[in-house]
């Protein structure tokens, strides 16, 4: 197997995370290994009339840790999360942007929904008091590409910059496209990932009407139970996961501490239904195949998959079918857990924090569990690393994300 030259290989050198189980990467990852549960009753708004009253709500987040108070006020919560995670990732990478060529630094950070809270509050102002009361910051705070824009302003990053939107696959697509951009020689450094802050009345009402969210309101901590027979829907979380990627050549030249390689990326579409995943996981199989090809890795080299694993009846069953369909016998050997059992589903940020998790697991040689897995489902029969973290020699990990629209993304991380 021939390896790509250093200027086409891409490595992870910085990680940042804001999650319901930890407000930085270390507390997030330690939380994952401890099986920490981030789900509770939502008190961001009055949930009385909502069928789902639970979520992975972040409390006591102070946006001014990452932005000055004026900037924080002008931006939506999803951008505030983005900046907190981006600052951690950049600090972690040790990159000094004063020494970088601004044209060679890019940013791809997305959000599945964008500034939902800002939109709802201003819609209310519009209806109650008329158009003159709508904030001049509504539009900049609402658009999901503002996350990438604000990071670029912070670091003077003038390279490729936009945001990918693919619902719950947003973060993974952003990271995958950043890998491609680096591999094509379009940049030396990419800041990438996803962010979401949709624990709001309108977003909850919409997902409740779809009957997509768990209504296990009496047992918040047991509500997100991917692959368990008792699962009844996803539990929404919020936060951001950001990675700093750079070419191996660039990382070596500046003497960076390399966390792992990001070796492959595959994107595909089910082309089947607006929200339901394909029953045989056809699109996901295609995304995983593309990622394997892109990484020049055989399927039997995958040690661990961080599943999309949303805890909806369909997703977990069809995702299992897709993994069985692609991996054959090797499906019985690999481990696949859903960290959403602990964090809830961070929608557009999921691919971001789950990529952080994959990179940390490779580095630590420890696999995060799927918690709340107590009643086996005959349709979900893989090794989901139930309830307890596991030590394992990991060489290659995969992260899968599926979005409404049938859009799938698969990423491969490996030890260098």
């Amino acid at each position: 197997m021939s390896e790509l030259p250093d200027n086409q290989r891409v490595v992870v050198t910085g990680l940042g995370a804001v999650t319901p189980i930890g407000m930085d990467v270390d507390s997030f990852f330690n939380g994952l290994l401890e099986g920490k549960n981030g789900i509770s009753h939502v008190d961001a708004f009055d949930t009385e009339k909502f069928t789902c009253k639970i979520g992975g709500q972040i409390r006591d987040f102070d946006p001014t840790v990452a932005m000055d108070p004026k900037e924080a006020r002008r931006n939506d919560r999803f951008v505030q999360f983005t900046m907190a995670a981006a600052k951690e990732a950049v600090a972690h990478s040790g990159i000094d942007f004063e020494k970088e060529d601004p044209d060679r630094v890019g940013v791809f950070v997305g959000s599945g929904i964008g500034g939902m809270d800002t939109m709802e509050k201003n819609a209310q102002k519009l209806l109650e008091s008329g158009p003159r009361k709508v904030s001049p910051f509504l539009i900049p705070a609402l658009i999901s590409n503002m996350a990438s824009g604000v990071i670029a302003i912070e670091y003077g990053a003038m390279g490729p910059n936009f945001s990918i939107v693919s619902a719950c696959a947003t973060g993974a697509h952003a990271i995958g496209e950043a890998l491609k951009t680096l591999r094509l020689g379009e940049a030396d450094v990419m800041i990438c990932g996803g962010s979401e802050a949709s624990i709001t009345p309108l977003a909850f009402a919409g997902f409740c009407s779809m009957k997509a969210m768990s209504t296990n309101n009496d047992d918040p901590k047991g509500a997100s139970r991917p692959f368990d027979a008792g699962r009844d829907g996803f539990v929404m979380g919020e936060g951001a996961g950001i990675l700093v990627l750079e070419t191996l050549e660039h990382a070596k030249a500046r003497g960076a501490d390399i966390i792992c390689e990001i070796a492959g990326y595959g994107a595909s579409c089910d082309a089947n239904h607006i929200t339901a995943p394909h029953p045989e996981g056809k699109g996901l199989i295609s995304a995983m195949k593309r990622a394997l090809n892109s990484a020049k890795i055989n399927s039997d080299q995958i040690d661990y998959i961080n599943a999309h694993g949303t805890s909806t009846p369909y997703n977990d069953k069809f995702e299992t079918a897709a993994v069985r369909g692609l991996y054959g016998d090797h499906a019985n050997k690999l481990m696949m857990s859903s960290t959403k059992s602990m964090t809830g589903h961070l929608l557009g940020a999921a691919g971001g924090i789950e990529s952080v998790a994959c990179a940390k697991m490779l580095q630590a040689g420890k696999v995060a569990p799927t918690i709340n897995l107590s009643t086996p489902d005959p349709d979900c029969d893989l090794d989901y690393v139930p309830n307890e973290a596991r030590e394992a020699k990991l060489s290659v990990t995969m992260s899968n994300s599926l979005g409404f629209g049938g859009q799938n993304a698969s990423l491969i991380f490996k030890t260098l």
Binding site: D68, P69, K70, R73, R132, S135, P136, F137, P140
Partner: protein, 86 residues
């Protein structure tokens, strides 16, 4: 004069809050754009905040043609005083 003092204080508080500046920076001659770090979006939001705070004094909205002329802290205080006295 007690009323004028109150208006100044209230204007000052809004500016401190919206633009994240120190109270000492708020002098009658201070320009929102040039001295207090505001951009065009901030100035729109400031006008909205003044309208909300002084809705009784100004008896309605600040028309666009008036808003354009409110460039400094002093402009705003003078404007509200005139409207309040009218």
């Amino acid at each position: 004069m007690a009323d004028e003092k109150t208006i100044e204080q209230r204007v000052s508080e809004i500016i401190v809050n919206q633009l994240n500046v120190n109270e000492e920076q708020i002098t009658p001659g201070a320009s929102f754009l040039d001295d207090l770090g505001a951009d065009s979006l901030d100035t729109v939001e400031l006008i909205m905040a003044f309208e909300e705070e002084f809705k009784d004094e100004i008896n309605g909205e600040i028309p666009e043609s008036d808003a354009e002329k409110l460039q400094t802290v002093g402009d705003v205080i003078k404007y509200i005083n005139e409207k309040a006295g009218a």
